[in-house]
Subunit: 369 residues, 2 copies
């Protein structure tokens, strides 16, 4: 079969590889119809995240079940499926309690040295009963591909911030009556909260859409790329451009000098994390989705003095899958411009190149073309 | 009047000072009947927290209203009151939204260079309408003095951890039917959660009691002082002694190798914060009450990889006052051994000395004796 291979930083090739086979009774083989290139793969592509070479890339994919291990009983051969970005065993402590992001079976996501990815004609899916999700035939593949990672991830980042506020009355929400409970401490109501989203790449856009659909009225959105800011504005964000706008002053002015009530950080570097901290008001919430490899750019005294609330790390895609999919389906039209490039798998190198150069919003690869 | 003066590290004297007078229409003058020495004053006493000298100490006090400014209408002269450790204006953004810990009027707590404290015959209370709380005559002063700071603080630290779990069914709770809502993400139930409290000083004991009364079944409690561990055990904690017990191994064994589901950190130094991080399982919650002045002893990558949830900083005493008082009243008997030393105000220096040497659990000073 054809597969997209990581041969070192900025070196992506399509090579022939053996079609995968079932190794465990819990496995499935999926015939891939669409595979996405994810922003988090750029850490490896750019050489920031060191790794050996030679593995198949890709942790976002949709396809059909080709073959099932004997113990996988909740799917049928031929069924359309979405795969979550890392395996989910469903039987460990973490899976049973909703922390599917910490399932030990998922330590190596798809598209790494530990597990061959889905940018290929076929892919082996471990723990298929939990790792795969049924894909409604009525939802276009361009939307479904976001459900492997970026939409549930953005959804989770937004929800973790939203939970610190008293919900907006559901009568004021647009067709989405689901309410998330606030902390028991009496807090600000969501409809008056000023949010900031740092980073308007694909995950950031998903977070912005979620925030708006859950009752956040005001969300400033920050990026350096005009196209991303335009998209974010269409989703209801107020665009602020790095290098053009005096962002700290604008946020201070919008909040009576206090700072933002919540910051969603989707960039993953030290500068962004420090900006997030600085833009946040005392006792605000910082929901960090970015993949951070450096130090934390604030001291314990700064955190104490600010009464910081912060959560970091990978999203539990499987846990939030159903509620995230509802938001996707309810906002089909708004998400239709997210995928700008559909390329044959054979043009994967070009796809990585334009995505890395921020010339594409989101690139999907089509095997068999 | 007599007042306890900070004259430098380890130098506490009782000196004569002018009786305070009303300066603003929002002030009250309180005649102090009991003043506590708080663990957080030891930062100054030991010289770790640098400050000028000459001010009156004390941010825990109970007394009677002696005089009221013209705009304070919710108290009467002669009424018994508890004072919260820092002023609360009730009219700013932070107060209105429940973040009384971040009220700008409270930037200088009582007993600092910015605001004369309550270890004195009389004290001026700014923003008395919000800073004072009515004190039920039926509750002993030994319990009320804990309501200025340590009980609401310990309560808040416990609640911030408890909120990450699905509540224990109220039928299984002992006389306390109040339930706190969990985060919307499906999480572990509280009754199965393994908690750790690092630090069993007065605030730690209040956190442990709160945790137990709210449905936490298992809480390991860590300290180096035998007397504190004995008290913590009486409140339902499982004592682990620093230097004697292999704490990481015991917690790992109790949690199937994962680590604790929640850690409440009440020590306030870098070693304790690192221990808290290491003892915590992935996707657990670290509720930090300690006053931290150093760096954060973990990297961004460690936080990302652990899916850390952490909150830090001062407690919103006013916001949680009523619910914390309910727990105090319901647990009068268990708290009766908390105060070990009642000294005349004139013996304040001795009180600081034995408290600093951990020879006293909690010291209260009685003016006029």
């Amino acid at each position: 079969m054809e597969a997209v291979i990581f041969n070192g930083p900025f070196k992506i090739d399509v090579e022939r590889r053996p079609k995968p086979t079932l190794l465990e009774p819990t496995d499935a083989i999926v015939k891939v119809t669409v595979a996405g290139i994810c922003g988090s793969e750029l850490h490896m592509y750019r050489g920031h995240q060191k790794t050996a070479t030679g593995h198949i890339m890709g942790h976002e994919f949709v396809g059909y079940v080709e073959e099932l291990g004997s113990s996988v009983t909740n799917f049928k051969v031929g069924q359309k499926v979405v795969c979550t970005f890392s395996p989910v065993c469903l039987s460990c402590f973490f899976c049973k309690n909703g922390y599917t992001n910490r399932c030990p079976a998922g330590t190596a996501p798809f598209g790494t040295q530990g597990l061959a990815g889905g940018q290929a004609d076929y892919v082996r899916v471990p723990y298929a009963a939990g790792t795969l999700q049924p894909a409604p035939e009525t939802v276009p593949e361009e939307l479904l591909i976001m459900m492997s990672d970026i939409f549930p991830t953005g959804y989770y980042g937004a929800i973790r911030a939203i939970e610190y506020f008293v919900p907006t009355p559901s009568s004021e929400l647009n067709g989405d009556s689901e309410q998330h409970t606030a902390l028991s401490l009496k807090m600000q109501t969501l409809d008056k909260a000023i949010f900031v989203c740092l980073g308007c790449g694909p995950v950031g856009l998903c977070a912005i859409l979620t925030a708006r659909s859950k009752g956040v009225r005001t969300i400033y959105v920050v990026d350096s790329v005009d196209d991303r800011l335009e998209q974010a504005a269409k989703l209801g964000g107020i665009p602020l451009k790095l290098g053009r706008d005096d962002i700290p002053s604008i946020i201070k002015e919008a909040t009576g000098g206090r700072g933002a009530d919540a910051v969603i950080e989707v960039v993953g570097n030290t500068t962004a994390m420090r900006s997030a901290f600085d833009l946040l008001r005392p006792a605000g919430v910082l929901s960090s989705l970015g993949f951070h490899q450096g130090d934390l750019p604030f001291t314990a005294l700064e955190c104490y003095s600010k009464n910081l609330n912060i959560n970091l790390g990978r999203a539990p895609v499987r846990t939030v899958y159903d509620e995230a999919l509802e938001v996707v389906v309810a906002n089909k039209d708004k998400l239709s411009e997210m995928i700008t490039h559909r390329l044959p798998l054979s043009q994967a190198a070009h796809g990585y190149d334009i995505f890395e150069k921020q010339q594409a919003r989101k690139v999907i690869l089509i095997p068999g073309q």
